[in-house]
Symmetry: C2
Subunit: 352 residues, 2 copies
């Protein structure tokens, strides 16, 4: 393949881990005979500083014409501490999602046995948990009509049949590629929007007779993720519930620094780590590059390049086993820097 | 005091645990020289069967004129399995909240050392966790304007200043009675309603200079509850977020069957266990009555009757230590029935 990749390093530790993702992608392309061209764009606080817009038109065009976006993270302390700032890095994220039509956010929750001891859950509960959260990403309260004055405020949680069908389609298809168990999470006992979600899911289910489809209220799902995470295979839900549940899911394995995600939809897909920009660690060479590197694996897999994805996963597994890890994971042994871990993975890929 | 108590046993295991709550309340009143009168009302599936309304006018009047409501649980399998049912037990719950103006749902999350082994979290993480979730209960998407047809649907998440102020007042006051740490949970980086919540909380905070007030996004809170539950003292949030976070919070201690709650507001307060109606166990004398019994302790404490609450808590603690517990807790020793546990607690209260 000839890859055109838009690289958006963003803020905080973003640039450091971005480099490791790029190096790994280059190494894999070389090994498998793909060519790859990386073009860089600004986003987030970095883009506000340089051009006054957290997702500038130029960056949009770059993404639009690329095959995929390799994204890192946005967010800066300066804005977190200033609630009056009119333009904020997060708006760049939301603009990117909306403009690229990234309606499906896909977040695998995986356990790594060498990291189980970092999980807040008892190992016997979380061991072997392996599920995918699919979050609708361009609808609901995030983008619905809003109003605020000094005495009242509202947000609108609106969904159209079209928006619901296309995300459920992604979820059913994902379930077909996995253990064929889909859990649709909603609050149909209270919300009209949830009732439409449930109705459409019930209409679509017969088209996927091999998939076991069940429904769960969001409050129940928030409990089940902790009590019995192995129950889940593929979980799908609307934007706001997905925001909460995917983050809840991301901490149960103790491997937050290792979890990648994909956002796909109408045009260019975006691959990114789920952790944030960790501005406090910027430039310190301590950030874990593995989530970014695994997002490159997801990128290859998106294009059905299974072996390319597999070699990355193998290299990451080997680095964990050998203890070649950043301080967030490695509490006792020798601590490796962001660059060292990335270089180790690149070496592994070249030599295997 | 002369207590007029409205007792709403409801569905499933409700009636069985209700009796234990009533017996405990009667025993405490006798011991401390209060008189108490119990009047019974129907609610939930039981009320649909008998009068076609899950919260009938008669029950409403009974509650309205009582000093407090002792509620158990509503919900029946018959309705869970029939998505077309027009009248559902849960509507009784929502009607009760709205009609009695129960805008503050107060849910303590407490650990019991004898139950820590039942927590899905590692003991070193959850041990000593002790916080209170305060959920706004009569606003937001639950009661906002709704619409649904076959092609689109929406819910409205609306809050007025008045609604926000009164629940924050409850939260600040609670924080003053505890460790003086209040966490306001919202999604102010995305939602207009959250921005109004945050603005009002920031305006009110200077009135409580002794309270450390902090703000946390809901996705972050969903992680923090699992990773570091001891961080929290009092947490306050809007209805939908509260639905999710209070349930998440309720399972981290392993003591779901022991957690009571209070709903307070414009008129009669309601005290209830947070677990549901567990229809599968109905009539089997296996349901844990402790959450219902502890909700009686909350009732006394609401009326500033500290010793009355304390003797109940002491009795519950003693029953746990002695292993006088229902099968959900007692996995190996002799298993006690709902009635036996209740009777043991009553005896303890009489003799101490
Ligand atoms: C930064 C914020 C707007 C964003 C969201 O809520 O979607 C983030 O929490 C996420 O989940 O990607
Ligand atoms: C039954 C349902 C309507 C209710 C709610 O969502 O409020 C329940 O989940 C609760 O939390 O009390």
């Amino acid at each position: 393949m000839n890859f055109n990749i838009a690289v958006l390093p963003g803020d905080g530790i973003g640039p450091e881990i971005s480099i490791q993702g790029v190096d790994v992608m280059a190494a894999v392309c070389q090994k498998f005979g793909h060519s790859v061209d990386f073009q860089y764009g600004v986003v987030g606080a970095a883009a506000i500083e340089s051009v006054g817009d957290p997702f500038p038109e130029e960056t949009y065009k770059l993404c639009k014409s690329a095959d995929a976006v390799l994204f890192s993270a946005v967010g800066d302390l300066k804005y977190d501490n200033d609630p009056t700032a009119k333009v904020r890095p997060e708006q760049g994220l939301l603009a990117m999602r909306k403009k690229l039509g990234l309606y499906a956010n896909i977040r695998p929750v995986e356990t790594f046995s060498s990291l189980l001891h970092k999980s807040p859950l008892r190992p016997e509960i979380v061991e072997g948990a392996d599920f995918v959260c699919i979050r609708e990403l361009t609808g609901g309260m995030y983008f619905g009509e809003k109003y605020q004055d000094d005495d009242k405020a509202y947000d609108t949680n609106a969904y159209s049949r079209h928006e619901i069908e296309r995300i459920l389609r992604v979820a059913f298809d994902y379930a077909m590629k996995r253990r064929r168990h889909l859990t649709v999470v909603d609050k149909a006992n209270v919300l009209a929007s949830s009732r439409l979600w449930r109705k459409i899911a019930q209409e679509m289910a017969p088209q996927y007779p091999e998939v076991t489809t069940d429904f769960m209220y969001v409050d129940n799902a928030a409990m089940r993720i902790i009590q019995d995470p192995r129950f889940f295979d593929v979980m799908v839900t609307e934007n706001t519930f997905g925001d909460i549940l995917t983050d809840e899911g991301s901490v149960i394995t103790g491997s937050m620094g290792l979890l990648p995600s994909a956002s796909t939809g109408e045009s260019t897909p975006v691959f990114e780590p789920i952790h944030g920009s960790w501005p406090q660690a910027k430039g310190m060479d301590i950030a874990n590059p593995l989530a970014q590197i695994l997002s490159v694996a997801m990128l290859f897999e998106y294009f059905d390049l299974k072996n390319e994805g597999a070699i990355i996963r193998e290299a990451v597994g080997a680095s964990l086993e050998k203890g070649v890890t950043t301080p967030d994971i490695n509490e006792s042994g020798r601590r490796y820097g962001t660059r060292e871990v990335g270089a180790w993975i690149v070496d592994y890929i070249r030599n295997h």
